[in-house]
Each structure stands twice: as structure tokens, then as C-alpha cells.
């Protein structure tokens, strides 16, 4: 069963934490199309959270096209179009970069230093300049 990592005392609502974790698991391919998610009750019991919170997260994921509701079976990971998932991936990265940049500002790192850091890291991890699109 997929494990959610909830920080109840953080300022981020729990439904949002679950939403984002599923979103990321789908974006990075950990959850593939057709995977059944654990039931609301199972998750609620597993992480000791009000079931309404889980329903809210699942509902939102359904609304955004990540999940499909199967009658009597629960929630399944929906088909993600190539174009849409690229967009979603960029949005997730954008959010992470915003956090990173804000941290850098707090530490007094300037733009050039930050960009160099990122370029160096990309080099280290052999990030290709361009990925040939396969669609």
C-alpha cells in the first residue's frame, strides 16, 4: 500500500499534503495508470486522520483528472495525456523552484550563484540538454 507522509502540525492542510503526494507519485511514474488507491477508510485508519480529509483529497484529485472513480472499487489512477503530464510536471517543478529561490534569497545567495549551482548539479547528474520528444 502506498505510504503517505503526513505532518499534521505543519501549516499545510492535510488534504493538500495528500493531494500533492499523489500528484508527485503520478508525475514521477511511481503510480501508473490503472493502479487502485487504498480506500478512504484504509488511509484514514492507517495515518489516523479524519476520513473526510482523505475524501477531500481524493475528490480534488478526481476533479483535476489524476484519478477516476470506479463504482464499488474505489479510486484508480487515470490516463495522463503526454501533453498534460508535461504541463503538470513543469508546474510541480515551478513550485519547488519557487521554494528554492525563496530559500536562496533568505540565505543571501545571488541569482548568478544560484544558476551556477543548478547548472553544476545538472552537469553532475548528466541532465541532457534536450530530450527528444517521443510523442
Amino acid at each position: 500500500m502506498i505510504q503517505f507522509n503526513i505532518e499534521a502540525s505543519s501549516g499545510i492542510p492535510i488534504y493538500k499534503q495528500i493531494f500533492e503526494q499523489v500528484e508527485r507519485m503520478i508525475a514521477n511514474g511511481y503510480l501508473v495508470e490503472g493502479t487502485l488507491l487504498p480506500s478512504v477508510r484504509q488511509v484514514a485508519n492507517n495515518i489516523d486522520v479524519n476520513p473526510m480529509t482523505i475524501s477531500k483529497a481524493y475528490g480534488l484529485l478526481e476533479e483535476r483528472g489524476y484519478l477516476t472513480r470506479l463504482r464499488g472499487k474505489g479510486m484508480m489512477v487515470a490516463h495522463q495525456s503526454e501533453e498534460k503530464s508535461k504541463k503538470e510536471k513543469m508546474m510541480i517543478l515551478d513550485k519547488m523552484i519557487a521554494e528554492l529561490v525563496s530559500d536562496a534569497v533568505q540565505m543571501g545567495i545571488n541569482k548568478q550563484e544560484l544558476l551556477t549551482l543548478i547548472a553544476d548539479k545538472a552537469e553532475q547528474l548528466n541532465l541532457p540538454d534536450k530530450i527528444n520528444s517521443q510523442g
Binding site: 499534521a8 488534504y15 485508519n45 489516523d48
Partner: protein, 288 residues
Amino acid sequence: MTTTIQISKLSKSYKKQQVLTELDWSIKQGDVIGLLGKNGAGKSTLINAILNINPADSGSVSLLGEDNKVLTSATKARIGYVPQQNDEITWLTVKELIQFKKQFYAHWNDSKVAELISRWEIDTNKKMSELSVGQGQRVLIILALAHEPDLMIFDEPAAALDPAGRRDFLKEIVNLAADENKTIIFSTHITTDLERVANKVAILHQGKICHFDDLDNVKENVVKVSVISDQPNKITIPYAINTFQDNHQVNGVVTQVDLQWKKELESQGHQVDITPMSLEDIFLELTA
């Protein structure tokens, strides 16, 4: 959705100390509410007034559609209550006390009682007076759940429990919350107790419910806003409950973010940061 509790203009004072001041509050069926308040804010006073255990001086309370001063026994049987202090008959054994209590109710879930007794390792041959505070509290919780009431009110239920017991008790509330018809109120001054299980949070402050909203809304709306600017004294943060300035930065805690204002400032080249706050910090800010 139906209203389970309707409170209007409830006032209560002890001698010259005004505790509740024309308090209005409306609670819907299915709400799981964490009632937060500092020590001495009047949480127990409010609960006792709701249940008419210690009647209010003025105002009215409707419970499950009936005036709380003239509840029918059928309605009383739909309410479960766990007091902060054990005021049950102490010279009975746990087993005897359960048998005694059971007589008052038409409906009683024996298997639920047995399950909780074994899970919480309670020696039913012991007298109530011989139990530790935590074990006594667990027995009271069992008694309040046994008749499967529609409305449950817990006054600082987790106060006497150890961390494992707290977690287990909260788990029990999670299970109850899965049944969306049940209404649950529990008072606490420990915010972490309610963050996982409550869907709404009410803050009792200066005699009134000063804040009552979905827990998610509270966390999304009450946030810290900081603006970096060359002229910090020209910046006013909307909906701020308090602001403070240092050199090039204005900080404020707001009860809601004015996105229009944020956009405007950003278009003028200011940097506006929004940081979420833990419920504990929110609680401290709202009752400061």
C-alpha cells in the same frame, strides 16, 4: 444539513467573573469539532452549560432539536459525554459500573465495550477508585461510546492519557468520524490533538467563539505575510491582526490573503511572501 446544536446569547458568570458573554454558536450534524481555548477560557463552563449540567445565567441551547432544559429521555440517550474529571461512583468495580450504566439505555453495544476493554487492557475487577487516572478516563470514554450516541462531547478527553493512549483515543474518534451522521465535540488546549481528527476548529476566547471554521480553511487563510520593500512604513497589509516591521520588511499575520493587493504590490516590484502557520501558532495569534 441539520443543526445538532444551536446556541444563542449564552451568558454565564461566577461571582463577578464573566465567563461566557452572549455566546452564539451553531453546530451541524457530522461536524467533528476541536474546541480550543486557553486554560481558564471557559471550555468546561461552555460544555456544562450546553448539557445543562451547570445551567447558564441566560440564553438558550437547543440540542438535537430540543431545549436543553427539557430534554426527553429518548434524546438524552442520543448524547454521550465524558467529563474532565471522574465523577462516577468510585466504589463499584468497572464491571459493576458498566452493568449499572447499561440499565439506563435501550441500546448498548456489548461487543464494542468488550473490544475497547481488551484493547485498553482494563482490569474490570478493579474498583474505579483503584484505577490510575488514565485508566479511569478510558472507562469513562467506553461508557460514553457504549450506547452509540449521535452527539458526543468530550471535555479534555486526552488530558489524562499517555501518548499511546491519546493516539488510540484519537483513532477511536477517527472511526466514529467515518460515520458522517455523528457529531463530535472535544475540548483541548493541545492543538496537535485535533489536527488529525477535527474537520472544524472553534476558538473560545473572551467569552465568545471568536473563530469557527473548517480546519483546512483556517490553515489556508490565517497565514504570515511578509513584504520586502524600501519603504516599509508605506505598506499596510490588509486583514492583518498584527504587524511588525524591521529594516526592509513588513510582516503581518492575516485572517485572509487579499490576492488583488498582493498582485498590485508585486506589479510595483515588491516581493510578497506567504508562509503557512501551524495551528498552534494560529491559535496563539488569534487569542493574543
